[in-house]
């Protein structure tokens, strides 16, 4: 039985992972740690968990939190929390999975580039672990994740864009300076922190582009696509927020070097992902929408070509809190602990 301890248990990422683990046949939660609501049962705060997880919310300093056994410690925390704790945890023999940007980069330089771009301290607090870590997108780094001591769970937008363009990048189909990622997210992508712009009445029937000066996920996308391509890929990225709860739809454009049919593109994508059970590839006539992946770990890709102007167009659908967060996290935990990759995750969504 794999033992999991969750730090930051009361945010959307923590809750999502609790929900999944209560259904997992080979894993159990040993402790929940958070800074808010300490002392209450998690199911008092989130009554949908009543009868499924009634563990107390513990302060990080609580001995019960410290002494709880763990094979994996999950940090569902903001940037620059996990990096200060990881080393100590590794010393206990546990592995670390971090939801923030702390371990998404495998060198100090890459981390610094990321940190500077969105106004954080560029000095990593655990540089000795960079290189021992893996980027937690199983579809591209399955083996590295299995072996890594520390895994950085991907950003939600990044996950959708990278899965949507990696096959084309690997095949070097497009001009690497021509990529545009037009991304639309439900509001839950911003987490549970209150904000005037996410107050229900202010958000109702209201959609907008935001962070137009630069979104923190751009670094991940450019780094991973460049890795696949073998040359630097540079993107224009626009984040939009829409008045739904869950879901990301990223529409991805790239100028093809040579003409190509949709059929060929779809076939190649399917081959690329043939060993990835959570990616499903479709042509442009399939009736795919974000509801096909809602509350699941799937990424559905609709691959097409605008032949009039020779442009690849991929629409990538994920649930930002599942494949974009807790689902990928469990997929990573499975890999990190030697369990089957799909355990506890292979479930369809519900319609409507």
């Amino acid at each position: 039985m794999v033992k999991v301890k969750i730090i930051g248990a009361t945010g959307y990422g923590g809750i999502g992972l609790i929900e999944l683990l209560t259904q997992h046949p080979e894993a159990q939660i040993t402790a929940l740690v958070a800074r808010e609501e300490v002392g209450k049962r998690i199911s008092d705060v989130y009554p949908h968990l009543d009868g499924f997880c009634d563990l107390p919310i513990l302060d990080a300093a609580d001995p019960r939190a410290q002494e709880a056994p763990a094979n994996v410690v999950v940090f569902s925390t903001p940037d620059r929390v996990g990096m200060y704790e990881a080393e100590k945890i590794l010393e206990t023999g546990a592995k670390v999975l971090d939801f923030s940007g702390d371990f998404r980069f495998t060198s100090q330089e890459a981390y610094a580039d990321y940190a500077i771009r969105h106004g954080k301290d560029p000095v990593h607090a655990a540089p000795q672990l960079l290189g021992k870590n893996a980027y937690g997108l199983a579809e591209l780094h399955r083996e590295a994740i299995r072996k890594a001591e520390v895994v950085g769970n991907p950003g939600c937008f990044a996950c959708s864009c990278i899965l949507g363009l990696s096959p084309a990048a690997k095949a070097a189909w497009f001009d690497p300076m021509s990529v545009i990622c037009d991304c639309k997210t439900g509001v839950s992508g911003a987490g549970k922190k209150l904000a005037a712009t996410f107050h229900y009445p202010a958000r109702y029937e209201n959609m907008n582009a935001y962070k137009m000066a630069g979104h923190q996920h751009v670094c991940e996308v450019e780094r991973e696509l460049s890795l696949q391509y073998g040359e630097p890929v540079r993107i224009t990225f626009t984040a939009h927020v829409l008045p739904i709860c869950r879901g990301i739809m990223s529409t991805l454009y790239a100028q093809l070097k040579t003409p190509m049919t949709e059929e060929d593109a779809v076939a190649y994508y399917r081959t690329f992902y043939k060993d990835s059970p959570f990616v499903r590839v479709y042509g442009s006539k399939a009736p795919i929408g974000s509801n096909c992946v809602a509350r699941t770990n799937f990424c559905d890709l609709v691959v097409s070509v605008d032949t009039r102007v020779n442009r690849l167009r991929v629409v990538s659908y994920i649930d930002n809190l599942m494949k974009g967060q807790a689902g990928s996290a469990l997929q990573n935990i499975n890999l990190m602990t030697g369990l089957p990759e799909t355990l506890g995750l292979m479930r369809s969504g519900m319609y409507p």
Copy 2:
């Protein structure tokens, strides 16, 4: 392995049951029958099922449909379909579960009363089966369902009202003429049939009361509450539709005969439902909302007393497509086939 055949597989009830059965460890689907989309794979029409259920949609007359083995045949069909087929199915040794009003009543008189009230033919087509059937609300009729050859799955509103008031009715706390059921449902309660009033733009930010002259679920509620009470109970029932997808919230009022505290009422309700794993009872301070039960088989009851006027007030929350339909259906299938009542159903919802 329990074998299930679904007639009317492409409606919300059918799809919901397919989703549940693909996760069920002891049941499998043997055939899907519908009148629309015949010949396509169910997952071509509902791509969220891609990889989970790729069975073809068959015409009722198709030999593959006729010959598929079944322990239970489910009719997810409108009124007056299942009643014409049930006898033949029973002869094959299978049991019948019907989602319509056809088998919710156990006498010709009760059926006729129901049928007349909402403008249908009052003559039941299989009167010989009335009396061998059970009303499929496990919390009240668990043993009868286990033994019945035919089970009538409850109406969604009815389920919420009956669970909300049965303990008080059983204890005869209230004046049986004083009951008011003020019920609010998401739009999915009306099924997938297109209607101007459920066209997305027409329904957006739009709520209204409807069928004020009389809703077809009233008969079930009055019959079951009267059964518990031991005297005729008569209700005023108002149905409202709200611009959400899933969820029923029924606010139930009844004039108490003698004063009572909330604490006593809650305690009694908990005792009443102590062997019913899908009913959770709370006092008025618990932060319960329809999201606590969304996409689950739970009914969450908030029990309170307006002591100023000596009135019982219960708020009953269910997911209309789960406890109100496919979830109760699977709970009944489990009972009808000797499986544990909660198999394949004991799962929390997801937040947010």
Copy 3:
């Protein structure tokens, strides 16, 4: 030209009144006062007003705020703000319109009862003005509002319930202890203050009853209905919040003393409101929903009788921010300043 000064200009009530006044042919805004965003233009904070109202947001102490001329000063502020300022404003010759509970009651006793029920100081700060004030529901107190120096704008739920039951109360049709008000509101009814329960993802597809121990609007409803009835009326009131932005739907029940037809009830209601241009009365077959009144000052009433149990049932629809707040406010300003009651308000909603 009527001059209006708005205190609390950046809340929903303030913004709503600004929107209306920018279209009003006989009124103008002379100053906007608030505690937040001081120094900015209102249209920088709310860009939909760009070009319509570009006035600066002033601190209350700013001489420009103090010296701006005004015929009416509007307090779109919480309880216990306006009561401390009203006397000074009256001395300048201006009238006062207050959105809070401060001037909804015309005696110290009534105010104290209200204040105690929801945990506020029961001592009114301007008792000398009680009696000179009017309850700002024009349909019942048109003449009093015309003459009053201070008007208390009604609560949004209260407005919907009082309009829905006043005709029946006036005619003493029902048992005064039998009234139930089952009220459903969109989230904007809670104002713009951030709260976990109104964070967009937490509220999406989530509905619940709240404040079950007692809502602050109950006092107003009971006071006004008792006034119409001539005897004390006592109500059970349940507030529910639904995931829409605007709209209140109140379903109102009362036990009739003698049988009555829907036709007679509708006819009497129409007569009662024949001089009230913002109330429209319908029978139960009219396709009325909250969208019929959205973004307008109308109250649409659907009047029916459950003849099986002899119970009156009225569904009352308003826009909580219009007839429930800023619309009633402008209606009152018109009356207080001798303008036609409907000026700047007689506009239909938009479909869909």
Copy 4:
């Protein structure tokens, strides 16, 4: 008083124009024609109009429809209706405004190109009128609209894209083969015709790209941008539908020929639109969203430059039923009849 007759009065476009005209000081509706609900009052079908417009819905052949005087006859009808009627109407001295694609093109060739692309008969039924007509986007064709006998109201997506890119096209800032229009619309853009994909439960929390093979508005956008540019402009256009009622957000990308700052771009756009009262231009830091233009005739443009890759990015917000349909229509009627362009339209939206 300008007299307006509306053909196709019961669709979203017709209703929207009725709403506007009931508030217009210098125009009146003389007849409403439709194929559905004939004989009823428009306010029986759309009760929000009760008291504002209670005209009967007439059959086209009804003498009352035929004989009603009109200065402008509006066809709020599908393609290939207005083109058969226009000549007769012009003979009566009235002008024609058509909401469909019938009169959006000024030559038979352009019409045929449009018709072929979306599978319609390429032969125009009134070729003699092409050339006498104008494209009804006032911001670009104000004088032509004033003089035209027939005006083709723009498509909603087209309106948002053309307004968003015309200044840059006029200045030839970008590579004319590099334009991408990533457009998001609320569901009302698809009109009131029922469809499975717009059934409320199926659309709830569900977003998707559609018509990926080619949308009918592409022709208009390419034609108008090419006209501004002076060279052929070719676009990749992706339509997405989102679960809101009203609103279009189009994110527009084009590769700049030479580097440019956001400040310069914004300044030039403001100059370009200085005489267009319904276009407001902002930089990327302004808090603009679709709610800023909801239920108004405004187009709000957020202009920015991705300087890392030298790409222009404009986000264009309109209400698809107002500036994208009925609002532009009234703007055109004003121009066609010599009234001030903004009459009856200069109104802010409502928040929230």
